[in-house]
Structures are given as C-alpha cells and as structure tokens.
C-alpha cells in the first residue's frame, strides 16, 4: 500500500469512530460543541502522531540491536512501553496547553489526561506503528487523527445545533427554538453516533447493490 492510501484510509474507509468504533468515550464526552471537538481532535492527532513516530522508531531500534530471540522477549513488554510513551506525550500536551492555551485547556479539562486511555492511540501503536516503518506510520497517524477529528466535528455539529441552537458558539436558531437538552447529554451522543453509523452502512449497501 502506498503512503497516500495509508493516509486516506483513516478518513473514510477505516474511520476510527465510524468504522473501527474506537475511542468512543472521548467522542461522547467532548462532542457537545464544535470548538471542543476541534481542540480534542487536534490534541489527539498530536499524541497519535508523536506516539506512532516513537513506537515505530523504538521497534526499528530493537530490530537493529537485538537478536531474533531478544526481539521476541521484548515483545512481552511492548504494551507497557507503548503506554509510557503515550502517557508522556499526553502529559506534554496537557502542560503545554495549560501554559499557552488556557481557554482551550479549561474547556477540555479532564478529557486531556484521558487521551492516555483513548483506544485509538494504543490501537494504532500496537496494530500499526509497531509493525510498520516510520513514513507509513506517520501517514497512518495523520490520517487517523484527521478522521477522528472529522468524526468528532460531524457529531458535534448535530449536537451543538440541536442541543444549544448554535454553531461554533454563535446562536443561529430563531428565538422560538427550544434547545433539545438531551442532545447535549451523553444519550444524545449515542443517538447521533448510531444514526451516523446507520447512514454510512446504508450508503455502503447502496453502493454494493448498484
């Protein structure tokens, strides 16, 4: 597979939220407004990219300096190593964000530290970066990150519009519009994700039939 197709697949064909159904908890939590979705998407993409790079390089290093047996035994501790790498980058994001982007860090709050347990990141480190060279790993991380961000924005678009009658914080509904409180709460996220999944599956089915 070419680098380009590695990059493209994360956006639609293997979209982490809608296709792989990974990392749904942060999606539920921060997709209440588009600005939150963009901030979370950017933070996750950064962590994904950095951890994919380091994991790919680390595995390359081990394959150069260790014997066959050594590599096999190192495999036993790969998950703890990945977690250390990911947690370090998340901590870096958290510190940098609260130092230089205080507004964003406030609205994302607890969900920044929770990027550590976002399964997309460990999933890509384990499932992709540890088995592939550096360049495809970078393409994979950026593609997945953008796919995650787009999915978040797509969900946040519906939730913010119906739940608060606004887009990007700007009121756009008429004053008669009564916001649907449910959409702001977690059940609203479940509903929207389910409907999006159904829509994508329906599109796929139609494509197959024609």
């Amino acid at each position: 597979m070419s680098v380009m197709s590695e990059f493209i697949k994360g956006i639609y064909k293997e979209n982490p939220v809608f296709r792989l159904a990974l990392g749904l908890c942060p999606v539920l939590a921060v997709s209440t407004s588009i600005s939150n979705a963009i901030g979370m998407g950017a933070a996750t993409t950064f962590v994904l990219l950095s951890s994919n790079i380091i994991v790919s390089l680390l595995m390359l290093l081990f394959s150069k300096i260790l014997s066959e047996g050594g590599q096999k035994s190192i495999n036993k501790i790969r998950i703890p190593m990945f977690i250390v790498v990911i947690a370090s980058f998340v901590t870096i994001v958290e510190m940098v964000m609260s130092a230089y982007f205080p507004v964003l860090s406030e609205s994302l709050g607890i969900f920044i530290p929770l990027i550590v347990v976002n399964c997309i990141i460990l999933g890509r480190a384990e499932g992709y970066a540890s088995k592939n060279p550096l360049i495809p790993s970078i393409a994979d991380a950026i593609g997945m990150g953008i796919g995650f961000t787009l999915a978040l924005v797509a969900i946040a678009f519906v939730r913010e519009l119906l739940g608060s009658g606004a887009l990007l914080g700007q009121n756009i509904m008429s004053s008669n519009f009564k916001p649907v409180l449910l959409m702001i709460l977690p059940p609203g996220a479940f509903l929207v994700i389910g409907l999006y999944l159904a829509l994508l599956n329906w599109l796929d089915l139609r494509k197959k039939e024609s």
Partner: protein, 210 residues
C-alpha cells in the same frame, strides 16, 4: 532469569528517558502556568470590582501539620482582597474574595466583589467542570437558553438574599442544574458569613466607652 533482567532494563531505560523529558518540559511550562493563573485571578478581581485602583491581599498564616500534629511550617493563605478606589490605598472601595463549593461534578470557584456594606458588586465563576450544556452554563453571563440565570442577578444582593428559588430565595437557578446554582449561591453566602464579621467597617463597630 537473564530474560527478566533484560526486560526490566529496557523498561527502566524507557521510563527514565520519559521522566527526564517530562521534567524538562515541566520546568519550562511551570512558570507560564503560574502566570496564567495569576492573570486569571487579576482579571476576575478587575471584573468584580472594576473601579478599584489598587488591591491588596489580606493573608493569614495557616500551620501545616504532620500526622502527629506537630507544626511543620506555616503556609500563607489569601483570605480576601481589600480594594481601594485610589492608588494610595486611602479610600476603601470594598472587598473581593473567593468562594468555593462542590457542585454536581466539580469544585466551583467564584470570585465575589462586595462594597464596604457587604452588598455584592459582581461575581465571576473562576473555575468549574460541571456538565457541559447544563451546569457549565453558570459561567455564561447571558446563556443561550434564554433562561433567567445570569451571574448579573447577584449584583446588589446581600447575604440575606442569597438563596436559590427552590429554597425560597430570589436567585433564579439554571433549569436542570439546581445543584450547580445552589452551590454557587450557598458558597458565596457561607463565605460572606465568615468574612463579614472580620471586615466590618470601623464605624459600625461598637465604640467602647469607659
């Protein structure tokens, strides 16, 4: 046995490198984060008492004790701020203080400005992590829902008015977030209760006669 040593060696190296990187970034971002906090406090102070020219923090020493009750050292803690309407600290304008209480899902910190008679001039929510779209609305001074909650309604209130409508008071609470509204209101009232005796204006104090 050899294998175990090798694995722990690798894991140790990975974690030590990660810790070193994190420590470096921490030392760079720490002052910036402190600065942001300070700027935020200053901004909140200015918001609640805009016409004050000079503020000075009144502190008290709080002993920090170890498990056996032995005082280790004394920590300085800001009790409230005295606000003066001239730069030379001659004319007392009022006081500002931080109220704190646990809301629905977080600790809510509010900066409150009062005049010398104890009438609230304005309040500002400094930090909260309440439910997005519900309790988090407390921060907006003009929330989109069109409900009557607004931090503006605290202006002109005194300690006896501070009760939410569900408790038979005048403060209109946020629909669906009574706990948040109640916490803000009650934390301000409680803080006022302890502070008012300490800051009673001199002319109100009983004059000792002999």
């Amino acid at each position: 046995m050899n294998n175990i040593i090798r694995l722990s060696m690798v894991l140790t190296i990975v974690t030590v490198v990660a810790a070193f990187v994190l420590a470096e970034i921490y030392s760079v971002t720490k002052p910036q984060i402190e600065l942001q906090k300070l700027a935020k406090t200053r901004e909140a102070l200015h918001f609640v008492l805009p016409d004050a020219q000079h503020m000075s923090a009144i502190t008290r020493k709080v002993p920090v004790r170890d498990g056996d009750g032995v005082t280790l050292y004394e920590k300085e803690e800001i009790m409230f701020y005295e606000a003066f309407s001239d730069p030379d600290s001659q004319r007392l304008r009022g006081y500002a203080f931080k109220a704190e209480g646990s809301g629905y899902s977080s600790i809510i910190e509010t900066m409150v400005g009062i005049d010398t008679a104890g009438v609230i001039q304005n309040i500002k929510i400094i930090s909260q992590k309440e439910t997005p779209g519900l309790g988090a609305l407390a921060e907006d001074s003009d929330p989109f829902t069109g409900k009557k909650w607004s931090t503006q309604q605290f202006i002109g209130k005194t300690i006896n008015d501070l009760k939410v409508d569900k408790d038979g008071g005048e403060i209109v609470s946020i629909t669906g977030a009574t706990i948040t509204s109640r916490t803000i209101t009650n934390s301000i009232r409680d803080e006022l209760k302890t502070l008012l005796p300490q800051i009673a204006p001199p002319q109100d104090q009983p004059v000792e006669e002999d």
